[in-house]
Symmetry: C2
């Protein structure tokens, strides 16, 4: 873990290229540091000035002669290497390289960026950027950016890969009243990346939620590690762009980010306990809510309203987003029945109806929020002639305070008429929206965090110590020594066996006698397939014979397969014939692995056979860190699960065996980075046990 | 069609229960009419007053003695029947019954509402409401509501089933700057319903878009007819609530609306050319945009931005929402290359980069909007030190004006800094959003309307005149005469044949000889199944024998089936054994029909056999009005389509035959309202032709 305390709370800051000329970045930065109320030492570096912004200026950073925590670069890219050398010699700890003209401009800039990193490494300095807006910490306080304003003091840490977005969000945050602990523009991420900053701000007592705008992740493992460490303490919400082909293309022309597959990001975020915001609005709606309201213990929501329509809209949203309309206890219903007029609807959504004064909101909220079946509340209000809206707001605020374990959000609908009430709610920690749906969407995000947090806390990598790693290594070495990267069927089956993945017994036979011996050792009936790394579509060239029951059939099949294949593919390397036990038909499944450039091996499970492409019924998880409960979860996410549970009176399949097989495949892929591709298709699942029929392994 | 001109543009209005007392509804209504600048005659009706709000008051409406277009009821429910009688005698055309206390309070109120309708019918009066807010028309101008304000003049017709929502939306609309042509609260819809109002406002030259909040639809056919008539002229956007079980439950406790199934609503909206808004926000975002921007001809979008991050976000949204990032012509690229600096990205998204002055927006917009491959533009802006934001807004406005056939929307990100630019854009007809995603979502809705509009214009009901309706009627009559509602297999197959739906040949045999004769007439192999309306699970009781190839096998099967079934189900009515041609296996499909209470027969098509429940792979369309192209479309929407097209080298199935079979099933269901349920499962599709294996028909 990188210690970024001296970056976020520095005792001294040098501004290299500080300037007296308004409009220059070097002027904006030093004026911002001053205006932010920063109380540490400030050293403007500019050979032409003796004083800037009231601080004594130095011609070179080496002339300062005192410890310097942070140096902010406001010099042209061409000067950056020399300046970095100077910083190194002056013992600077952190460089914030605002300067642009690095990786984002092409190969030349990329080289410059690499050289800059080399210098930093040499002196043990860390780089933020280059090509960024700078760094703010409102509690230090410090505004080491060239933004026009300083963020409002608050508890959201915002980390952004886009500087322009930082500027826009910052500006917008004042209207919205969002307060930040840190506001960090990470630029090209030449050295410090999102993972470093997540770790750092998660440790900060002023941060209650971490929000990120990301176009890519630099190091998948580090990112997951940082997020899993943060999640039990504070929620991490990511808005990841570049999810579509068009977006990824735009991203790569932007900061040269190589976007990993969206599926891998989904799998990684889930394993890391990260909430993925689908829109920018959702990102900040959620961030705001997390700083104000507790994480609900469950997903049971009460909706309180004074008009039917919005109550229905909210109820729809609750169910559509996977939350539940709370069912009240008998006591709650009794109390509501006694205290509310007969025209009111005491079942959820609780409708206090149009002639309600604010007191009915008090009855509805006080009664339902103390119900153990209620985890959160959505308070809806439409203006009426008789309702004191500010009073309704105060009642909502008090009810939320009286139940600090339950999340309360509101949608006071209408404009000017509800304005005073809305302001009261917002000033008192009740997230408030114009319409019911975003209020419910916020609760959904909070509930999701609660779930992810406990999942992350409970999950540990599921490992098996009864596997024969050395045996597999030997097979891989042999394959390579043979000049191949594709394993033959019997080799792959053997690898599976060494990891106790139940593959159908299989042997390689180089002549007819050996084939008979193999068949008799395995037991009839058998299937025979040509063993060649060069023949992909075995059936098409007469390379497969099934349901062979006697010695004679095996002998005949051996001859026929060899002859037919040699004729069809005269240049193919043929190793003989694979003799495999013919297994009874079961439910067809697939277990597979693909390599993601960012997050490594990703395990897929789903419906197999010919249907796999048709249905595209698969769920994915990262192999690294995969826990047993994650495997169980991934099975339930597929349509195949309906079959596995026992469809239409069929007996259920052996799900525990399947869970274990997936866990073992994951371990195999973790243990051997050299596996480039792995596919077990089909796997037959039976009421007892399962059989991996066709294991394909390709090495890097 | 109902002529509602005298309701929306009345020459005279009576307010029954008009009052001088502020706070009373009867006071609010008359003051609103006056304040709205209504220029027709106004007659307050109140026996205790001689003048109200400056208008001469009358003790009873019958005393007015002049023609009265509209009477607004502000009297208690108990008085409403007598008042309606008076109105009828006075020759009133329209009653706006604001009064509550009708259907929404239970059986007693329902009776009162029915009696009110009877009186109205007797005199040829139409009722708006009861239990509503009233009606506004800003162009008349007339505010016959008890709302506190009058809507801004504009071109959105808003029709709402929730009065409270009307109040909230109206209040909010001032902040948002939304202008309305009509603002109509339809209440309990005792007489006039959504369809009547859609027809009326669609005819109004001041209405450019129709927006509805609905909890249910009263009459499916009328609704579809009204929408299909409106759609070619103006978009109809519906936010339908009560879509989930919880929402529907809330809806029924609200206005007693019986919600049809959400799938049927989807099918109906699509057929009617209605855009379904998924959130309240989307409803008004779209409504606003339709009044300001042209409907794009296609879905090719250009994104122009001065910062990378938001450009990626917008590109992602474009693809995620099913739009396309426009590919520019060579000319466009050449011009952009020449005029923009080399740092700019000239491919879509066009990034004029952070140091851009407003002139680069002009270059980007002028060049791309004239490209024939571009249908719409999203203009993104993040504030920078060098950019004149108001100038960028003016450039956007001018570019949009210069290309009146292309839709332009904007997201100027940031708060106070972009505020003046945002105001300029909004005042000049450019829909503007805080973040990129809702800007793109609006374009998506507009593109969808363009598509729906042309689909509605092109689609006519697909009918067949070579069907034997009388023959089917005779079979149904026979089944009924037999005291059954379920058709036996051979009867259902015969119905299919009479509609030229290719069913597998099937005959009923009452003894073994007849079975043999049937088998020989049909041709071997055959399948035999017990023919009984009381045996549901035929296989379980030994009621099915397959693959029978000889006379002997048929005789033996007949005996075995009869014996086994009589033993297992001694009380079942047994009609004999069905002898059916055993058809070769094809791709398994299902064609089915369910009855929706609101929209009538709904046709389903999807994957069949055991997979139908597992995959839930089905698409739905209403039988009424079903066009050939809609049938073709519904096939392409399923996963089964992948199989039908020819999966993994298999030859494609006979899709035209399938299209026709679905069209004929739809006609059968339209022709016979008495069909309660119909299921053809499985249908085997072949490279040439298809075969309906099992036709199930149940009558009402």
């Amino acid at each position: 873990m990188s210690d970024l305390r001296s970056l976020l709370h520095p005792k001294s800051i040098a501004v290299i290229g500080a300037s007296k000329t308004p409009g220059k970045i070097g002027n904006a930065v030093i004026e911002n540091i001053k205006a932010s109320g920063y109380t540490g030492e400030v050293y403007p570096i500019n050979p032409k000035e003796t004083e800037i912004a009231g601080y004594k200026a130095y011609p070179n950073i080496k002339d300062v002669g005192k410890p310097i925590d942070v140096a902010v670069f406001c010099v042209p890219a061409a000067a950056s290497l020399a300046v970095a050398e100077d910083c190194g010699q002056a013992g600077v700890k952190h460089l914030i390289v605002i300067t642009a003209g690095f990786k984002e401009i092409g190969p030349e800039g990329k080289k410059l960026e690499e050289d800059l990193v080399k210098i930093a490494r040499k002196y043990g300095m860390r780089i933020t950027g280059p090509n960024n807006l700078g760094v703010m910490d409102t509690h230090t306080p410090m505004n080491a950016t060239f933004a026009k304003d300083f963020a409002l003091k608050g508890n959201i840490a915002f980390i952004s890969q886009s500087g322009a977005l930082c500027v826009a969000i910052l500006d917008w945050s004042f209207q919205r009243g969002l307060g930040f602990s840190q506001f960090i523009s990470i630029g090209n991420k030449a050295d410090l990346n999102e993972a470093d900053f997540i770790e750092a701000v998660a440790e900060d007592p002023n941060t209650k939620v971490i929000c990120l705008y990301l176009e890519d992740v630099v190091n998948g493992d580090r990112f997951i590690e940082a997020c899993r460490k943060a999640t039990p303490k504070v929620p991490v919400i990511v808005f990841k762009s570049g999810i579509t082909a068009a977006g990824a293309k735009a991203a790569s022309s932007h900061t040269g980010a190589l976007a990993g597959s969206n599926t891998a990001y989904d799998a990684a975020f889930r394993h890391a306990g990260v909430i993925r915001a689908k829109t920018m609005t959702e990102l900040f709606d959620l961030a705001d809510a997390f700083t104000k309201q507790p994480v609900p213990r469950g997903k049971n929501v009460v909706v309180v309203t004074n008009s039917g329509g919005p109550g229905i809209v909210a109820s729809d949203a609750v169910e559509t987003l996977g939350l539940t309309m709370a069912r009240f206890t008998e006591e709650t219903l009794k109390e509501l029945r006694e205290k509310l007029p007969p025209t009111a609807n005491i079942h959820n959504p609780v409708d206090v109806v149009g002639d309600a004064h604010a007191d009915r909101y008090k009855i509805a909220l006080d009664t339902t929020l103390k119900d153990p079946n209620v985890d959160a509340a959505v308070v809806l209000l439409s203006p009426t002639a008789v309702l004191d809206i500010e009073e309704a707001a105060r009642i909502t605020i008090e009810a939320a305070k009286a139940h600090p374990d339950k999340a309360v959000v509101a949608a006071f609908m209408g404009g000017a008429k509800v304005d005073a009430g809305v302001k009261l709610l917002q000033a008192n920690g009740i997230p408030t929206y114009t319409f019911p749906e975003p209020a419910v969407a916020t609760l959904r995000g909070m509930v999701e965090y609660g779930k992810l947090r406990s999942e992350v806390a409970a999950s540990t990598e599921w490992t098996f110590d009864d596997v024969d790693k050395a045996g597999v290594k030997a097979i891989f070495d042999k394959v390579r020594a043979d000049g191949r990267d594709l394993l033959l069927g019997p080799e792959a089956a053997q690898v599976a066996e060494l990891y106790k993945i139940p593959a159908a017994p299989s042997k390689l036979a180089t002549d007819a006698d050996a084939a008979v011996a193999a068949a008799e050792a395995i037991g009839y009936p058998v299937v025979m397939k040509i063993a060649s790394p060069d023949i992909m579509h075995k059936t098409d060239v007469g390379g497969v014979k099934v349901n062979l029951n006697t010695k004679e059939e095996v002998v005949e099949a051996f001859g026929a397969i060899m002859e037919s294949c040699k004729k069809a593919e005269p240049n193919a390397r043929i190793y003989g014939v694979e003799v495999q036990k013919m297994m009874p038909k079961g439910d067809e499944l697939i277990i597979g692995m693909t390599k993601d450039p960012t997050f490594g091996p990703m395990i897929a499970f789903g419906s197999g056979g010919i249907l796999v492409n048709l249905l595209q019924d698969a769920s994915f998880r990262l192999a690294k860190g995969l826990s047993k409960s994650e495997v169980e979860q991934m099975i339930t996410e597929t349509k195949a699960y309906t079959l596995l549970k026992g469809f239409r009176g069929a007996p259920p399949d052996d799900i525990p065996a399947l869970v274990e097989a997936i866990g073992r495949v994951a371990q195999l892929c973790r243990d051997f980075d050299e596996i480039a591709e792995l596919d077990v298709n089909p796997v037959f699942a039976y009421p007892k046990g399962l059989s991996a029929l066709d294991v394909k392994i390709k090495l890097k």
